[in-house]
Amino acid sequence: MKGTLKLISIFGGLVLWHILATRIINDTALLVSPLVVVVKGYEMLFVTAELYPHLYASSWIFLNGMLLATLVGVPLGFLMALSPVVRDYVNPWMTALYTTPRIAFAPVLLLWFGIDIASKIIIVFLGCVFPILINSFYGMRVVSREFVEVGRSFRLSRGALFLKILLPASVPFILAGLRLAVGRGLTGVAIAEWFGATEGLGYMIFFAGQTLNIPILFVGVAVFAILGILGFQILKIIEELATPWRKGFEVK
């Protein structure tokens, strides 16, 4: 039933889009039917194969940025939760960086790190790191007092308390942070490739926009959407594998 509703919703949306494009706007310089996008996508994947370099470039930047953000965000979040000193040092910077639009950093990062991959990864990293950091911090801060007391009543060492109580209790929060980071990371990819790139989905969309190639533009947008959904689904699988004990908590 749930699956059927989803299919109806997707199909209905596409039909509306088709009608809007072919009957109402009826100008291929502004909007094309999803059918045209599908045909163009098929062509770019299986005929000209021109999509792959863009797809690889963007995915590579995205994965590196996410990985870096996880490697930095999770431990830093933990440190902030466990040490008031670290918290006080990091907090003002975190707030400032988190609330500043990332696009404002893009030109200066390009200036510093050049137009190759490093600056792009950093832009993606800046997008991903905050949700991961904040969730890791929060997850460890809100570990139920009762669980900590259980650990203490069993005289666990500080290390064991971290590994056996605090860390497992935080895992669901970290995974939620990673899920939030997917969307922000993909935005980062688009922003990074907007400036001084020669390949990538962001560049492809930007270039298609400049040359009024609406079908390619929409293929780029669709691929971004698919990547986002894919990232979400992969994280969902990871979540199910990592926290099998949470099944009972989920509200149906």
């Binding site: 259980v150 009543s153 069993f154 005289r155 056996k164 004990w245 949470r246 099944k247 009972g248 908590f249």
Partner: protein, 265 residues
Amino acid sequence: MAGPALELRNLTKEIPTGNQQPFVIFKNISLTVRDGEFVSIVGPSGCGKTTLLRVINGLLPPSSGQIFIDGKEQTGADNELVMGFVFQGASLLPWRTSLKNVLLGLEGRKQPREAEEIARFYLNLVGLSGFENHYPHQLSGGMQQRVNLARALVVDPRILLMDEPFAALDAQTRTFMQLELLRIWSQTKKTVIFITHMISEAILLSDRVIVFSHRPGRIRSEFTVPLARPRNIDIKSDHRFVELENVVWKQIEEEVKAAREGSPI
């Protein structure tokens, strides 16, 4: 043994409140518990009985006074596990199965194979063999408290501290768990301090019932339960049981009234 199983000497817990008088939670608690004795503490809500248990367990430091186990003073810095704590409610680690929850206290203290053998023995003792691989959310409230009990017993503690372990259970399950605890206790012969606000539960289980005053908590009185063991549900209609329940209830009622003096209920 060098002394009684557990001895509390003038134990006091206060919370500093800055400029004013400290907030006294309980004051000058002295109590001696002999080996294998089952002692319950009852008292009005907020009388500090749960805090007392946490101080005994070393989760909170006392403001003054001393705690001795077998004549050895407990400082809280000790890494040795001499006390088992059964918590009130959802204290099982949700990411661990029953077996892994029970194993918590043995990890790093025993060889894994030996530890698992002991854990399985205690799960069996509390009547949960076959549920080793269930997660807490897959167990009923009563079963969760059985795991909780097994987790505390598995380290073979000198003293078992129980903080209203059945408070969250429905009345039927609660009665059943009380009888189960009588059975398990008769098999392990642990020295137990049991906190409850249910007088009949205290009498049914205990050798001795301690009545706490309202805050700041002091020992108001204590009663030796004159009922032979092994006990079963029938003793609840024994006239000695009923009389004792009435006497204890009157005292608690007085404490509740004294605590609420001048303020509406």
